[in-house]
Amino acid sequence: MKFQIEDVTVYFPYDYIYPEQYSYMIELKRALDAKGHCLLEMPTGTGKTIALLSLITSYSLSKPQTPIKLIYCTRTVHEMEKTLAELKLLHNYQIKHLGPQARILAIGLSSRKNLCVNPTVLAAENRDSVDAGCRKLTASWVRAMAAENPNVPTCQFFENYERAASAAVVPPGVYTLQDLRVFGKEKGWCPYFLARHMVQFANVVVYSYQYLLDPKVAGIISKEMQKESVVVFDEAHNIDNVCIEALSVSVRRQTLEGATRNLNRISQEIDRFKATDASRLRAEYNRLVEGLALRGNLPITDNWLSNPALPDDILKEAVPGNIRRAEHFLHVLRRLVQYLRGRLDTENVEKENPVSFVASINSHAGIDQKTLKFCYDRLHSLMLTLEITDTDEFLHIQTICDFATLVGTYGRGFSIIIEPFDERMPHIPDPILQLSCHDASLAIKPVFDRFQSVVITSGTLSPIDLYPRLLNFHPVVSRSFTMSLTRDCICPMVLTRGSDQLPVSTKFDMRSDPGVVRNYGKLLLEMVSVVPDGIVCFFVSYSYMDGIINTWNDSGILKEIMQHKLVFIETQDVVETTLALDNYRRACDCGRGAVFFSVARGKVAEGIDFDRHYGRLVIMFGVPFQYTLSKILLARLEYLRDTFQIKEGDFLTFDALRQAAQCVGRVIRSKADYGMMIFADKRYSRHDKRSKLPSWILSHLRDVNLNLSTDMALHIAKEFLRKMAQPYEKIGGSGRKTLLSEEDLEKDGRWRHG
């Protein structure tokens, strides 16, 4: 269908549109008009992705004189593929209606691991070794060697791509990663470098968050993207954590040992080069005198991704004299590693801010701040000069240099925390030095500054006013949409008491109370007997889950649960969890029924959907607060309070509730689906906690369901499941219009304008 939103003709590939999609588009268009950033919350399963894609591409089509580019960031490769598939559908529809002028180029960009077509490189198991394998075949000096000696292996796909040079372009169209691989194989061109090359010409680019946020890889866009771009962060409820992780470094004993090994190897290499090819080292020295900025004209395969989070002057300034020579730089690094090792040998927990840490490095190891700042780039330069291709071996020394650069660059928003052991296991010494970033706005600032519009969207962004403060930006539009439903297909409940009327909670002083544990067990036991197929349970932490399952096992509750449903448990081991999930799904499929025990903030809570019969009920046992004694969290809270005036309690509650909303949101992925959500903790009934849930959950949380005991919840569950099992009518009858056709929109438009 096609319709007008103000002056833009929107092409939408389906015959009907949800009302909330329509209002979402209107808000989005206003933000684009204002060339500002926006924050939009809309529940999952209402077609956010297609609404976004459809409006932005149509907006661009209707204003051909000022074309805008869409940069769409997703969290996972799977979501990337889904987005591109939707875009393909939309693109076909637009071409059908507008003809060839609607042609766009849309590509997905991912790491070499997902795009490489060279079978020998792909054989490597992880991302870093695929990257290294590729460099071994495509680095400029390897190719130069291959030109003289035909026995040196190269990658024929990359050679073909280089030979085609500027002729190597992708014709317009929408390419998923799979399509790119097929296209690359067909033409004999390397899909990875082709995609990287095409990124600057494409109208739509879909890739993961890291390409924009992680300074180590963001360089790829920092020079190629135009200002007139719209950046979309989808599923962005954890964007502040992504930003923080991108700028945090942790150093352990192993890292330091590895770094020492790396340094020895580098020093051997230097000796070798001195003996054979001293001129290279001299050339590098000269280049460094002129400044790092000159690195720009290195060949594409040698180009390491530069660091946009660094101030510009680093790139222009000359490298300080004391690390220009390779041997001197090595000495500096050795001293740094030695110093860090000394710091790790501590008995107490230490917390420092970067300024005093740098001062202490200066006095003990004689390395000044400016030198530290240049470590990362100096290491790259050195490794290129030494023609080191197996970069995956050198991760440890890279971590150290990363650390040095960040410490040297930022005086605020970071802290250095040294812990001699893990708090949960105080007898095992496991010293760790963490440079933790507290300010999410640091990593995302370049993105906000650079691009015309940044759209942050997710199913759970509540409370919506906190995100602008955390990320330090001013949205022109921030709105939260609710879901229009033909029936009340979600049933959130707050369970505060067990059937014996004792309150339940995971508050620290109550959690191990046998009454609470028993009531939680009874709740699950009652629920497994009335809920069909799959049930998902989320606990606040692994240790709590282990404890409670042990108790249930001892008291025989677990056995009774198993009479109704099979039990699967998430563990910290990825393979084991995948296997458990797989079997869980099979048990749901064949009608045996299953319960999955999982942990909020775990892998399962973030990325796995429990839609349809895989999750008819989700129980959130407790409020998933972060581990409040963690030094890093305390430091961050302090920083947030001092800088952004966000109270500790507010932030903790916000963070816990968004995790809870994220967990319970796993059960419903479309409007035809249905599911129940039980928040089992008395604290959820308090207004300050509850009000931080997203509005689409709150609007279904009726006052009667706020203070339930187990037996009342059981009764509501029975009624709800019976009601939902009745045949589902897609177009809501009797006044609840949830699908709009083209005519409806026209009528609505006339009414709005006239």
Binding site: S529, D533, C590, G591, R592, L721, K723, A725
Partner: protein, 395 residues
Amino acid sequence: MNNGAGRRINGAAEEDDDEDDVNGDLDAWERTYTDERSWESLQEDESGMLRPIDNQALYHSQYRRRLRSLSSTAARIQKGLIRYLYIVIDLSRAASEMDFRPSRIAVIAKHVETFIREFFYQNPLSQVGIVTIKDGVAHCLTDIGGSPESHINALMKKLECSGDSSLQNALDLVDGYLNQIPSYGHREVLILYSALSTCDPGDIMDTIQKCRKSKIRCSVIGLAAEMFICKHLCQETGGTYSVALDESHFKELILEHAPPPPAIAEFAVANLIKMGFPQRAAEGSISICSCHKEAKVGAGYTCPRCKARACELPTECCVCGLTLVSSPHLARSYHHLFPIAPFDEVTSSHLNNPNCKLQRNCFGCQQSLLDPVFGLRKQTRACRCVPEVQTNATC
């Protein structure tokens, strides 16, 4: 239509009967809490006021659905008139739950009885068998046959529930029986499922495919909630899946299975069936009944081929295996092929129009149609009472 009140009266009456034996260990206040469920008949409206549950909307949508299915069958559809139906009754632990009054199994038994009678009334040429699932094992309670009384009697004797439920075992058993049915018969299974899980010895997906291959139409009526595997089974084999809201809804759902379903296209080849139309024996004549193996006096039928005596029609001759029917049976089956046309709905404003020539009273019950009107037949008019009259009184 407000069954809340009705149920409450029922509930109160039953409470007096069985309070001592069932709820002996509960306190009086607990008993009212668990038994009466007075809150069930109330719901909260937008402003937080309490009001009785409004079932009108629900019934109206059900009515519309029936109307739609009726209009879709108005086109000539081949229907399977000779049906071989197995009723599978789940007697697992879950069937003894008390959320239906007095218990699920009592409600099931009551309505299965109505259903079996209705089924034979509407499909005189068809046959029924009963299978029960108990302790994870499926048992054949009655072999497939045409006598409603024998099935009902057998069922009423066996209503104890225990153990788990196994869908696969039941399907395997039924599949084995139905495979021996002659090719003109339509194979159907109606599963009344109380449990919310199934404990199977093997892969149930294989069993479902087997049923699909042998053209068995499986329908399920659930009593608690929607289960994926049941939905999948019905989708694969072309049956219907429904879940009962309460007792009256359950009755409605089970009776929906009484009229014959459309035939499976590839299976419905035309062929000839040999049938005998036996004569009714003279009053007072004594002969040995072939079904009961004893001498009986009068009121029997004599097989035209082998002259054996059968007690009731329709049946299969025990001696020569000929299908014995009477011509009214054939005629009664026949009316499914020519269903009555769906009714046009007439708004009351149309009726109030003085120019309107239509009668203002119901054709069936003679009540005024100026009350809210549900349906109107093409030439004559009738309120909703007529479709029931129609199905019960024609032929």
